[in-house]
Symmetry: C2
Subunit: 413 residues, 2 copies
């Protein structure tokens, strides 16, 4: 089955709004085995809409449309579709009830414009919009499926996930699809692919693996197709259990987990606390930890010790060691971590010291050289890394490494 995506909106054509919908949509339908052959962006213009629909219909069996469903006059997608199908607008009870429910939930009053939004082309099946007033529309006409959805990502995405994808799977009588993404931190894509090669080769035919690398992180997506969702879930989880035995330290979570969230949960479950002493990451680890609501329960704070003076005075780093080994050294990160743990009376601590770049490197310690330490009351682990030349990336990658080192220490404790 082939699909085309049509994004409607003047704001995209003047470059004011980035079209993030199309790529996301493409990914979603690809995951159920439908390939996207073309993405077209046009303005809120009747001729353009009809022309694109005609063209797309020649190439594709499924047309996904976003945008132009708002209640204002510049939004003309619904009227144009009505005309395209030679249909007429009719009051749709289900759509009306959906809008009514939305307004009740928010304690708002419905106006005439909102009521009008429940008028849909007679041949449309309404799709519930949980986050807005414009219903989506599903058309099944002459062997083609045409789906029209709002352009607001927040409204469109749940409509796709909860209604369109299940309807498509059913319609196509395609196999059920189950996917789960394994999140890893600590090693690069090629290291992982070497390490898990045997496991990958032995994966059942119905499970596909995709590598999705990001700075400081590699995501492994397993997509399984079959008849029974429960069965697939079980099958995928069994494979993940095997994977966990091969790269136990790298896996920190699944799907939409973040490392800061996972570490926060481990700390909370253990009623433990952590403090941070940051040099090269300059507060970024503190920012990650505190981006989680409720983090004050396990995070009293941080000393961002950019200067050596603060390392000495606030964290108790030895002046001799600073002179002898430099700020980017094992001795210094160990003392930073232990110093902040003692100072703030926490159970764990993280410290970082490195040359984030792009300047400041030497022959002995080139840009990217970074020491990270994590400690508990029982022990301190320090590690040296050689990252790249990009300052922003080095800060991010260092922070993720440090958080994962802490995660490993907590679960082993």
């Amino acid at each position: 089955m082939k699909a085309e995506i049509i994004s409607i909106g003047d704001e995209i054509l003047i470059g004011q709004v980035m079209n993030t919908n199309a790529g996301w949509l493409a990914e979603q339908v690809n995951l159920i085995g439908i390939s996207v052959v073309r993405i077209t962006t046009i303005g809120d213009n009747k001729e353009e809409i009809i022309g694109s629909l005609d063209d797309a219909g020649k190439r594709a069996d499924l047309i996904l449309i976003t945008g132009g469903l708002g209640p204002t006059r510049d939004d003309i997608t619904k009227q144009t579709l009505c005309e395209y199908f030679d249909s007429e607008l009719k009051f749709n009870k289900q759509a009306f009830r959906d809008i009514e429910k939305l307004f009740e939930g928010r304690g708002w009053q419905m106006n005439e414009k909102n009521k009008k939004q429940a008028e849909l082309p007679a041949n449309a099946v309404p799709l519930t919009n949980k986050n807005g007033t414009a219903p989506g529309m599903w058309f099944d006409q002459d062997g083609k499926i045409i789906v029209s959805m709002p352009g607001v990502p927040f409204e469109m995405k749940p409509m796709i996930t909860n209604q369109v994808i299940p309807k498509l799977s059913e319609k196509l009588q395609t196999d059920t699809l189950y996917h789960k993404t394994v999140l890893t931190q600590g090693m690069g894509e090629s290291w992982i692919s070497d390490k898990i090669e045997d496991w990958e080769d032995k994966l059942p035919q119905n499970i596909k693996l995709a590598y999705l690398p990001q700075p400081g992180m590699v995501r492994l997506r397993l997509s399984a197709t079959g008849q029974n969702k429960k069965e697939l879930e079980k099958q995928v989880n069994e494979e993940i259990e095997k994977l966990k035995n091969i790269i136990p330290d790298l896996i920190f979570g699944y799907n939409n987990d973040s490392l800061e969230e996972v570490v926060g949960k481990h700390l909370r479950n253990n009623q433990a606390t952590v403090a941070t002493a940051e040099s090269c990451t300059g507060g970024y680890i503190a920012h990650l930890i505190t981006s989680i609501s409720g983090s004050s329960d396990y995070y009293p704070g941080s000393v961002v010790s950019y200067s050596n003076e603060i390392k000495i005075k606030e964290l108790g780093v030895s002046e001799d060691d600073l002179e002898k080994h430099g700020a980017v050294s094992e001795a210094v990160v160990r003392q930073m971590a232990e110093g902040v743990m003692k100072k703030f009376g926490t159970d764990y601590a993280i410290s970082t010291s490195g040359i984030a770049g792009p300047t400041g490197g030497t022959d002995e310690k080139p840009v990217g050289t970074t020491w990270i330490a994590v400690c508990s009351k029982e022990k301190t682990i320090a590690k040296k890394f050689s990252f790249g030349n990009n300052r922003g990336r080095n800060i991010r990658v260092t922070a993720l490494q440090a958080m994962n080192m802490l995660r490993k220490m907590i679960i082993k404790n």
Copy 2:
């Protein structure tokens, strides 16, 4: 003049790579008065490329193509264009010299594949690629202009800015365009538009104003058209001088400046230093400041005082005041700022304390309630803000407000 954009790349159609090129390109040509009527994304497929070119040619005078110019076999744009124009590949001296230069600059050896990249359709005018080996191509055929560029943004963007836009302006004999963006922080879009209404109404006919809001920031873009670039620059700067008199405190920079960069420059120029004491921003201000290379010259560090205990012990905040007024109060942020300035011996300090949300609000202090203080040796200024419910946004907006308060204090000192 009407334009269409064709983005070529299988990776976009499977949702693996976000098509950020098309929106950026649309914005750039819009700025010289060319409107984009359609954006089409297709795969690396000969029939699709030729079909899209045919269709686009019926609607537009200018076709901008990105992607498919790499040296590997899956990239077929150059061969397809050659076929489309019924032309033949010829060794192009200028393109070869450009590639040679690139390799010399990087100390690399050219291989056969690289040399082949200097072969272009005979009717193409090469466009220099300063950041890669694939030359761009400019075709002027049957009254249509077709431009083919690499898909890598880092290679494509300078090609557009430095070569395509000037050539288009010349070809179209359009007016020269000059634009400058004024960066403001402190008030929202509607407050600003009320305040500068008179100035906006009196802007010369050839200068257009666009409001570009972002969380915690409003950018004002002035676009002037005319004959002489120098004249336009002078004219725009005169208008900006008038604007500065109306909203002097809000303007912190121009074009691609960032607040952390601007504040860093002010500190450096004044040989001054700053420290931070962060509660609700949780290290994000420290992260912004240290994202600038060389910030260690003016930034010794920060105390992220998430807990009250650290506020008391490390920053000398009065326990009584914490109890009487709460952590989110004027008394506390004042003492935090003054405390960290004294502790780290800096010339300035910033402090923040607020309810970032989404939980933790009370009737008296709802989510978003935030106190910010900045201080110098002479004085401390504290301000209360009421931001929204979004944690990430509150952190960002608080940090920008705080940085701008510091900026104002430095320049008034």
